[in-house]
């Protein structure tokens, strides 16, 4: 069966319980919103294939339970993820403070070069806001991570967020691929094409299609 996509990216949504991870995912995958979502138990994922510069990129987006207690289980699914959305709730100070903990959690459990992005969700609820946009931006600068405020409910910046993360992953892969095919210029430790790989055209596409 022919593949319906050129490339597969595994993404991960993490953040405190109730910040809207599932809603963001639902908005992106189904373009819908439901105020009375159920809490996520364990782990699930959704798929959406997007077009990125003429390439069909299949996004496999993993949604996790937020409560700290379940982290020992959910972190098992971090492995192999290429991009992570760190989500907090602008109406919940605690969820914002916890972003630092989540970043530490990523450092311990995900690969070092995973692409990250911070999302301040529920920005439609301006009257209940506890975390200003500026604080969000400040945090992002501190960690050198991209940042955007979103509203899954009003469909604000959700598409933008996923496209941005996917584009960054793609750029990083292309860069790595280039370095790998040109060893003198690249850093060491990066995946080099093996005999197996040599049978395929050396592009970033070939690399991610085996994922």
């Amino acid at each position: 069966m022919a593949k319906t996509y050129d490339c597969l990216f595994k993404l991960l949504l993490i953040g405190d319980s109730g910040v809207g991870k599932t809603s963001i995912l639902f908005r992106f995958s189904e373009d819908a919103f439901n105020i009375s979502f159920i809490s996520t138990i364990g782990i699930d994922f959704k798929i959406r294939t997007i077009d990125l510069d003429g390439k069909k990129v299949k996004l496999q987006i993993w949604d996790t339970a937020g409560q700290e207690r379940f982290r020992t289980i959910t972190t098992a699914y971090y492995r192999g993820s290429m991009g992570i959305m760190l989500v907090y709730d602008v109406t919940n100070e605690k969820s914002f403070e916890n972003i630092k903990n989540w970043i530490r959690n990523i450092e311990e459990n995900a690969s070092a070069d995973v692409e990250k992005m911070i999302l301040g969700n529920k920005c439609d609820l301006d009257s209940q806001r506890q975390v200003s946009k500026e604080r969000g931006e400040q945090l992002a600068i501190e960690y050198q991570i991209k940042f955007v405020e979103t509203s899954a409910k009003d469909s604000l910046n959700v598409e933008y967020a996923f496209y941005t993360l996917a584009r960054d992953i793609k750029a990083k892969m292309e860069k790595k691929q280039k370095e790998a095919s040109n060893p003198s210029g690249g850093r060491s430790g990066v995946h080099k094409p093996t005999l197996n790989d040599a049978r395929k055209p050396v592009t970033w596409l070939s690399r991610c299609s085996v994922l």
């Binding site: 319980s17 109730g18 009375s36 138990i41 782990i43 289980i73």
Partner: protein, 660 residues
């Protein structure tokens, strides 16, 4: 010349069963010189169709040397064993024939087995044991089993070894009568019985279980008194033995192969298809209480609920017992007092958090965090159900109050995600805040380890699930391991909230009440997982599902499962596992069965063996003991009958059959 006399002798009747090496101990009206002579005890069908038990002295018959070693042999109607009469006794032939003892089955009233099953006595007149035989080789069990094919018997109440002949009769009539007495079938009993018997040949497990599932109610709700119940069980056991003897040919063949198969590739016995029963009805429930409201027959209630769940009309009452809020043995009056006390206790705990001021809350982050977590989850618990739907639904506030009070009740545990899922169906059914709280407490008692801070309880269960799957469905377990899914994390949601997210509201009530009975073994909820997964085995393996597809497939099963089918196959798998000859101690421990090797500690669970099949070492021990009428399910009150390689387990009152 002697041969012709022999044939003449045999032409008049057929030996249905013979057993050698039977000593005549005493016989009323016989000369003492006849005593202690060795002979053969037979069941004989006369030319006129009547049957009798016959003892023939060895002097009369010399058995061919090649058959002499045999303890017993079934003599079928065509292939009769050849016998010759030795020359020196022919002159006395008439005398010898006179020494034959005949006991017509029509006259037989009672028989009993004594002396370690080696002695058998017969009586045709109450109070007198006219004939006593001693079985030199082996014991009388097989003879009795065959005899019972031709008689309807009942064990007497005072002595388990004494059998009353209820009615000597043709087999079909016996069966007819038994079933008619039990009043199970409304249809023509003859047809039913013969369908049953013929079905035994083709579908032994299904037929047995189908028939016996119908007996459950009778056992509990026939008009028998306590002693009467015992009789029904006996009768059932007899019927089962009788019917199963029809299977003899096939079972003896498989039996001889069984042991070799084990050493090469352990396989489970076939899965019995166990039909679900009907829910515990109001009438039955009422009948199970004494005048003061105590539940008399707790195990019986649980068995019935395990079989069929609870009728919705009495759920709100029965759940309080199942969830240990109401003690089974309390009277109505005591329950009233208890409820009053529990109501006070609830409201005093509720007051504790209710009286926390805003200022206190601001300075108490742990409390604040818990409260906000509860709030978040309450607002997304079962909101599609009318009971919790809509803005400002008052039931959400009750959910919130109960969960917050639970935080005060068990501050160490606090609130963990999933608890609102556990509580919602309880509140929905019971409607009452206090009752829901205490039932929730009871449910949490059962699953507290699911919410361990370090998730040790969940991990332990996932490991046990992997072990069970490796035993019950090794092919699938291997596949999962190969696909990096051997940790069974994809079943996390199932286990955490006991399948709440997988079944409809109606179905989850049924599943939970069945699981709360704790029957038929510990960790039955893990066998529910095995049943669901086993049903998906073909899809998962044939489509070569990988890590992500497995998770997706399992998550997508939500709301597509049939609760009765799942329960039925889980029970079937349970029977497969416990009757497997290669059952390991590891699996026994998971299912709460006493391990054979008692030194094996429950905490020393080895890592899941993903690449090797379970060790066969303990199974050899099991095999040995399995032939000796013992073990397995010792915690349950079971009668186990081992018969021609067929193990029949009769759990107290409820009845089912197993094949080993």
């Amino acid at each position: 010349m002697s041969t012709s006399s022999g044939d003449e002798l045999h032409d008049q009747y057929k030996d249905l069963f013979t057993q050698d090496g039977v000593l005549l101990k005493t016989s009323v009206g016989r000369p003492v010189s006849d005593f202690n002579s060795i002979g053969m005890l037979c069941i004989v069908q006369n030319a006129d169709g009547t049957k009798c038990i016959e003892w023939r002295p060895n002097d009369l018959i010399t058995i061919d040397s090649d058959t002499q070693d045999q303890e017993w042999a079934v003599v079928n109607t065509v292939g009769r064993r050849q016998r010759t009469l030795s020359g020196n006794i022919t002159s006395d032939y008439a005398n010898l024939r006179a020494r034959i003892i005949k006991i017509p089955l029509d006259d037989l009233k009672t028989f009993r087995i004594t002396r370690n099953n080696q002695q058998m006595q017969f009586s045709t007149k109450p109070g007198v044991w006219q004939n006593t035989f001693y079985f030199q080789h082996g014991n009388a069990e097989i003879f009795v089993a065959y005899l019972k094919n031709h008689l309807k018997t009942a064990k007497t109440r005072h002595d388990r070894n004494t059998y009353m002949v209820v009615e000597p009769n043709d087999e079909s009539q016996v069966l007819n009568k038994s079933f008619a007495e039990l009043d199970i079938f409304t249809e023509n009993t003859t047809d039913v019985v013969w369908n049953l018997v013929s079905n035994f040949k083709q579908r032994p497990y299904e037929t047995t279980l189908e028939a016996f599932s119908k007996l459950t109610d009778i056992v509990y709700y026939g008009n028998e008194d306590v002693n009467g119940k015992r009789d029904v069980s006996e009768e059932v056991a007899d019927l089962l033995t009788k019917s199963m003897s029809a299977l003899e040919d096939t079972t003896s063949v498989t039996r001889s192969d069984e042991y070799e198969v084990i050493s090469v590739k352990p396989t489970l016995p076939p899965r019995p298809c166990i039909p679900r029963g009907s829910p515990l009805s109001t009438e039955k429930w009422d009948a199970l209480q004494d005048a003061d409201g105590r539940i008399v027959e707790v195990e019986g209630v649980k068995q019935l609920i395990f079989r069929g769940g609870v009728a919705h009309s009495i759920r709100s009452t029965v759940w309080k017992y199942l969830l240990d809020y109401f003690p089974w043995k309390m009277t109505h009056a005591e329950l009233k007092t208890l409820q009053k006390r529990k109501t006070e206790e609830y409201f005093s705990m509720k007051l504790q958090w209710r009286s926390v001021t805003e200022g206190q809350e601001n300075r108490f982050s742990e409390y604040r965090d818990r409260k906000s977590l509860v709030e978040k989850d309450v607002n997304r618990t079962d909101r599609t159900h009318p009971f919790f739907a809509g803005d400002n639904n008052p039931h959400l506030a009750v959910l919130q109050d109960i969960l917050m009070t639970y935080v005060m009740y068990n501050f160490d545990l606090g609130y963990v995600q999933g608890m609102s899922d556990i509580l919602a169906p309880l509140l929905l059914l019971l409607g009452n805040e206090v009752d829901s709280f205490w039932c929730f407490v009871g449910f949490m008692e059962k699953i507290a380890s699911n919410f361990d801070m370090d998730q040790a309880g969940m991990k332990h269960q996932l490991l046990q699930l992997q072990q069970l799957l490796m035993f019950a469905s090794p092919e699938l377990a291997q596949h999962l391991s190969q696909k990096d899914s051997g940790n069974m994390y994809f079943c996390f949601r199932w286990l955490l909230v006991w399948f709440k997210r997988e079944f409809s509201h109606i179905d989850i009530m049924r599943l939970w009440e069945v699981l709360w009975t704790g029957l038929p073994c510990a960790n039955f909820h893990l066998l529910i997982c095995v049943a669901i997964l086993d049903a998906e085995k073909e899809v998962i393996i044939s489509r070569d599902y990988g890590f992500t597809e497995i998770l997706k497939h399992v998550n997508d099963l939500s709301m597509t499962l049939d609760v009765d089918r799942v329960l039925s196959s889980a029970e079937g798998i349970y029977h497969q596992i416990v009757s497997a000859p290669h059952l390991t101690d590891q699996i026994r421990i998971v299912l709460g069965i006493e391990p054979l090797n008692l030194s094996m500690s429950t905490n020393s669970d080895p890592e899941p063996s993903t690449s090797t099949l379970p060790s066969t070492k303990p199974s050899q021990v099991e095999l040995k003991e399995g032939n000796g009428n013992t073990i397995f399910g010792q915690e349950m009150d079971e009668d186990v009958v081992v018969y021609n390689g067929l193990r029949i387990t009769i759990v107290t009152k409820t009845v089912w059959a197993l094949l080993a």
